[in-house]
């Protein structure tokens, strides 16, 4: 139990390093577009984490937050990718995917999973879309061949973080509601995996900030 709690706390507070780092860069007036985007994302996640923590402390059902959080998270991440691509068709596809995803999330609340149930379908769809976006970026890398060292490219690091986090969490997210029938320890294990992936993603954000272009 202790280990699961530690991982959970780590996951909650793992958003602080990218938030603080981006704040420092903003303070030093070195922030480029990507830094601003990560700062916005970190603030959003921090607010969601804080709200989730407070509501769970008070014993309230906070699953409705997840229904709001998922489309917004996708919208922010998709906007980051929107800024990378120059191709107008791809840009339109990304915008279209955000609109359709919002619609799907609304339909999920009304017809599939109510606000009090874990939103596994939107999460899976989000994972698929995010993996597709990162693969699209890898394709762009192949096509352009303009980067000598990929490990110094912030968008590549971001895509690595995205593909690992969203691909890794897709299975558990898709079967989350089914797994509720099993003993609580199994759920905790699954949550630990999700939290661990979340910590990895937030750590990647710090690396992205390190490589992000300065002004």
């Amino acid at each position: 139990m202790e280990v699961y709690n530690i991982i959970q706390y780590l996951s909650i507070f793992s958003i602080l390093p990218p938030l603080i780092y981006s704040l420092v860069l903003l303070w030093q007036r070195q922030a480029g577009r990507l830094t601003w985007q990560i700062f916005g994302f970190s603030v959003f996640i921090a607010v969601v984490e804080a709200a989730g923590w407070i509501s769970s402390y008070k014993g309230l059902n906070n699953l409705w937050m997840s229904h709001v959080y998922i489309p917004l998270e996708y919208a922010i991440l998709a906007y980051m990718y929107l800024c990378i691509f120059n191709n107008k068709i791809i840009k339109r596809l990304i915008i279209g995917s955000v609109v359709l995803f919002f619609l799907f999330c609304a339909l999920d609340i009304v017809y599939l999973e109510s606000l009090t149930i874990y939103n596994s379908y939107p999460r899976v769809i989000e994972s698929v879309l995010m993996v597709l976006l990162s693969l699209l970026y890898f394709y762009k890398v192949f096509k352009d061949i303009d980067k000598a060292d990929l490990l110094t490219d912030p968008y590549f690091l971001l895509s690595v973080g995205v593909i690992v986090n969203f691909a890794g969490s897709s299975v558990i997210n898709s079967l989350f509601n089914v797994m509720l029938q099993y003993p609580a320890e199994i759920m905790l294990m699954c949550l630990a995996v999700l939290n661990f992936l979340n910590v990895l993603f937030n750590t990647t954000l710090v690396l992205v900030l390190r490589r992000a272009p300065r002004v």
């Binding site: 993996v131 693969l135 890898f138 890398v141 192949f142 061949i145 980067k147 000598a148 990929l150 490990l151 590549f156 690595v160 593909i163 690992v164 691909a167 890794g168 969490s169 897709s170 299975v171 558990i172 079967l175 797994m179 099993y182 199994i186 294990m189 699954c190 995996v193």
Partner: protein
């Protein structure tokens, strides 16, 4: 079996797949970059070889024309001059007044033509360069400037007796020749300063004149004349793995600084 295990296995497989994609992207991109760099180098080498071949063909053609001019036209002119002299000596006393003057004029004209042929031959194939080296060849260029051009040329060298590779000497000689030609034709300069400095690892050539100069806009507009000449200089220097900087402003003359490494065997 715990129901957690299939989830973990599925997640691990997907994670491994994701990591596999990342590793593949990194490795393949590195390979692509390497291949692209190889292609770029190959193209650069090919361009270099083509340029080298073109310049060598140009020099070979110059040598051939110079040899023909010297051996055939020069010899024939000398013979004609000799015959004219014999003709002039064959006149009787009474005929002198009538026939001597045109023959003397002919001999003078022949002398002029022979001098021109000699100068052209020398420009095409600088014998001084191959025999005595770059410093003496530049001195010779300096002396061969027309007197009526009213250009004072000052030439300095820190090691006048030093010889370097034949290709390097020829390239630098052609550069000085081109620059002097430009000054003579376009610059309306009164002073030219040439400085050749041999260092341990490099050779520096500085060329300045106090002519009317040119703006960068002139260069782009007249690419067929002056611009092309300067491009030739840049190509020659690039072939020697050197660097060249050409600075000029309207009314401020021109300043050319070329640096060529001496370590490479040319």
């Amino acid at each position: 079996m715990s129901p957690f295990i299939p989830f973990i296995i599925a997640t691990s497989i997907i994670l491994l797949l994701a990591l596999g994609v990342v590793v593949f992207v990194v490795m393949y991109q590195k390979r692509l970059m390497k291949h692209q760099e190889y292609l770029r180098q190959l193209q650069e080498t090919r361009q270099r070889q083509l340029l080298e071949a073109a310049l060598e063909a140009q020099e070979a053609e110059r040598r051939r024309v110079a040899r023909d001019l010297h051996d055939e036209v020069g010899t024939m002119l000398a013979l004609v001059k000799l015959q004219a002299g014999q003709w002039s000596n064959g006149f009787g006393k009474g005929e002198i007044a009538e026939g001597q003057q045109p023959v003397t004029n002919l001999k003078l004209k022949l002398d002029e033509v022979m001098n021109s042929v000699r100068r052209i031959t020398h420009d095409l194939m600088p014998i001084v360069l191959t025999k005595f080296g770059l410093v003496q060849a530049i001195e010779s260029l300096k002396r061969s400037m027309p007197v009526d051009s009213n250009i004072g040329i000052k030439f300095e060298c820190n090691e006048p007796d030093r010889r370097v590779g034949q290709k390097l000497e020829l390239a630098l000689y052609r550069i000085v020749q081109e620059l002097l030609g430009n000054t003579l034709k376009h610059a309306q300069a009164s002073e030219v300063y040439i400085k050749l400095t041999f260092n341990t690892y490099k050779l520096e050539l500085v060329y300045t004149d106090n002519g009317k100069g040119f703006s960068s806009a002139d260069l782009t507009e007249n690419t067929t004349t002056t611009g092309l000449g300067l491009t030739n200089l840049q190509s020659r220097i690039a072939l020697l793995n050197g660097t060249i900087s050409i600075n000029s402003e309207l009314g401020a003359g021109i300043s050319v600084v070329a640096n060529v490494p001496l370590l490479t065997e040319f």
